[in-house]
Symmetry: C2
Subunit: 220 residues, 2 copies
C-alpha cells in the first residue's frame, strides 16, 4: 500500500465519487459478489476505469496490479476513509415535506447516519411522530445536539431562516451542514457545508435530453 494522502490533497471531484463507489460496492456485497475489477466497477457507475484507479490511488490503491478488488475489504476501507465506520448521528432542521422525506428515508440509518433529532418552528408540526421520533420545537435544538453528540445537521428550512439557524447550529457544535435551503450560508472555516440544489440535477439532465432530442450525442 502506498502512503495515504492527507485529506487536503484529495480533489473535490474524487471526494464526491467516493460515496458512489461505496454505495455500489455495498450493493454488490449484498448480492454476494466477492471480486470486482476496476473496469466493472467503473462501468457500472458510468465513469472511466482509469478515473476510478486514479481516485483510489489517493488512498493507497486498494489492489495489486492486474488483480480485482476484494469487495469485502474495499467496503470497510472506504467506510473508514469517508468517516462512516461508526454511525454519525444527524439532526434534521425543518420538518416540512423534504425534512419528513429525509427523516422517513430508512437508508439514512443503514448508510451510517441515524436521525437523532427532527426540529421545526411550526407548532402544528411539533409533536408529529416520524419513524418513532417526535418533531421537536426549535428551543430543544441545542440540548438535543449536546445530549446526542450530533455533529452533522441537515437544513431544510426556508431560505430566509437558513442563516439564523446555521448560526445556532455552529454555536451548538455542528461541524457539517447539508444545506437544502436555496441560499448560500456563511460559516467559519472549521465548518463544512454541502449545498444540495434540487434543480441542479434536473438541469444537468436537461443538457443530455437536449442532445438526445437534437441527435447530437455522438456515438458514445
Amino acid at each position: 500500500m502506498r502512503k495515504v494522502r492527507r485529506h487536503s490533497e484529495v480533489p473535490e471531484a474524487t471526494i464526491h465519487r467516493l460515496p458512489r463507489y461505496l454505495e455500489k460496492l455495498k450493493l454488490l456485497q449484498a448480492m454476494g459478489v466477492e471480486d470486482v475489477s476496476s473496469r466493472q466497477l467503473a462501468e457500472s457507475l458510468d465513469i472511466k476505469a482509469s478515473q476510478l484507479r486514479h481516485d483510489f490511488h489517493y488512498f493507497g490503491g486498494f489492489s495489486r496490479p492486474g488483480r480485482p478488488y476484494q469487495v469485502g475489504k474495499l467496503v470497510p476501507a472506504l467506510e473508514k476513509i469517508i468517516g462512516v465506520s461508526e454511525p454519525q448521528p444527524v439532526a434534521i432542521i425543518g420538518a416540512g415535506h423534504l425534512g419528513q422525506a429525509l427523516a422517513n428515508y430508512a437508508n439514512m440509518g443503514v448508510q451510517g447516519f441515524p436521525v437523532r433529532g427532527v426540529f421545526d418552528a411550526n407548532p402544528r408540526l411539533v409533536g408529529l411522530e416520524i419513524r418513532g421520533q417526535p418533531v421537536r420545537d426549535m428551543d430543544q435544538l441545542e440540548p438535543v445536539i449536546a445530549q446526542e453528540g450530533i455533529r452533522i445537521a441537515i437544513l431544510t428550512v426556508p431560505a430566509p431562516f437558513a442563516q439564523e439557524v446555521t448560526d445556532r447550529l455552529v454555536k451548538a457544535g455542528i461541524v457539517g451542514i447539508v444545506n437544502f435551503a436555496p441560499t448560500d450560508l456563511k460559516v467559519p472555516k472549521t465548518v463544512a457545508v454541502r449545498n444540495e440544489r434540487l434543480a441542479v440535477g434536473i438541469m444537468a439532465l436537461s443538457f443530455k435530453v437536449k442532445c438526445i432530442l437534437e441527435g447530437d450525442c455522438g456515438t458514445e
Copy 2:
C-alpha cells in the same frame, strides 16, 4: 468565439458544473451585478478559475482574454447550452413526502421546469392539490404526458416499483429521468437517467467533517 463542441465531447464533470454556474450567475443578475471575472465566479463556487475557464472553452469561452464576463450575456448563453431557454415541462411520479416537496418547490418553474403532472398509485393521495395541481391516478400517466408534451420525469416512487414505472415512462416518450428511487434503472440508450442519492451528499460531507474533527484538513 471558438467552435462550440459536440455534446458528446463535453466531460461529465463539466456538464454537472454548468447548472451551478448558471444558478450563481442568475443570483448575481438578480443582485444587479453586470460583470464578473472568472476568478470571482469560480471563488464563489469554491472551484479554481482555471477549471471554470476550461469548462467554458468547450462552448467558445464567452469572453475575450483579460475581460470579465458580461452576466447579461452569459446567462442566456448558458441557458441555451443547458437546454432551459424554453420551459421544459416535467412530471413527478410519486406524491409521497419527497414528491410533494419537489412539486411544492417554487423554484422548479422559475428555473425552467414547470411541473405539469403529479402522479401516484395511492388512492389516498390522488386528488390532493399541490400548488393548484391535483395528484392524478397512475392511469392518467400516458395521456397527460402526451397532452402536455412532457419529456422529463422525476421519479420518487419506492424502489420496487421504479423499473415498472420507468418502462411505462419510456414507452410514453420520456427521454430524461431524474431518479430518486434508491435503485438502478434499465433504459434504452436514447433515454438519459440521472441518479439522485440523498445519502451520497451527506457522505461526501462526512469526509470533510472527519478531516475537521481530526485536524487533518491542511492549510487550505
